[in-house]
Assembly symmetry: C2
Homo-oligomer: 162 residues x 2
Amino acid sequence: MVEFDPITEAHRQWSARWPEHADHMTAITSVMRVQQLLLARVEDVLKPHSLTFAAFEALRLLAFTRHGSLPMGKMGERLMVHPASVTNAIRKLESRGLVERRLSPDDRRVVLATITEGGRAVAAEATDALNQADFGLAGLTREQAAEVTVTLRLLRTTAGDV
Amino acid sequence: MVEFDPITEAHRQWSARWPEHADHMTAITSVMRVQQLLLARVEDVLKPHSLTFAAFEALRLLAFTRHGSLPMGKMGERLMVHPASVTNAIRKLESRGLVERRLSPDDRRVVLATITEGGRAVAAEATDALNQADFGLAGLTREQAAEVTVTLRLLRTTAGDV
DNA sequence: ATCTATAATTTTAATGTCCAAATATTGAGT
DNA sequence: ACTCAATATTTGGACATTAAAATTATAGAT
């Protein structure tokens, strides 16, 4: 709890000078702040499993696939992150033996990341922990959580996503 | 535009296994994605002014104050970032002559960051650029932008913010 | 006066993200 | 076959963020 809300204060400052832009400024600031808060919460939950959120998402994605493997590039698309970030995340998982990398037999430019048995176990435990913690959103009902998604999808749409 | 939406797909996968947690998972993922998109847009607008969003916010905050200066610690509170991040941002601004640092006469533990005339000029230009670009949210009406803020405030409240 | 706990800031080290450039491989056209 | 543009991934560089330790200064208690 903060004595006063910095975001409300920023909106006040902006309204006094550029009233027609204050709402957009505040929306951005809210997104940045919420992301920061939620990421911290989620990573707290994942810490005992030695996973970052990015690593968790990569592992979870592989566990979902039919054969437990996916080309690096496809992972970047699905996770919506830069290819270099995938390289980074997979390297770390590989060093822990949770994932293996091999060249695709079909196209040797392609690197297939494959989840190991150990990786599946860690993914299952971490998933359970996050679900129990409701991803740091225990304070929201399912309806409220869905509302957040809907509102942000509107924003993603105008941003060229979706 | 993506052929299919990775977030919708993730929701489908989650629903098939842990239906009671799918909405919370998707809300988190949406927040992360939107933050990434908006930060990229905002930083594109700021690039010609050689400012990152973090640096812009620090400069803007100083320009708002009565005397154009604030203790480092207070800046961290207002910007809701780690003290080390403030140190980092101010160091960079100082090296460009946009901000000066001096010890507080009242308490010599305190460092006062003070915006210079040059800093005010850059802040004004960058602010104008962001306002013109509606902070990357040109696709949203003021009402829609306000709705984003309201929805996320609900989330911030349950997360102990506000 | 002196000691000690508290406070403000910086430094250091570990991570994570992105971009741009480099490397390797494929595939299409001639 | 041969050339060349396109594709997949990694590497190196620039930043940002955080936690934890170190530094310096203040203020309250004895």
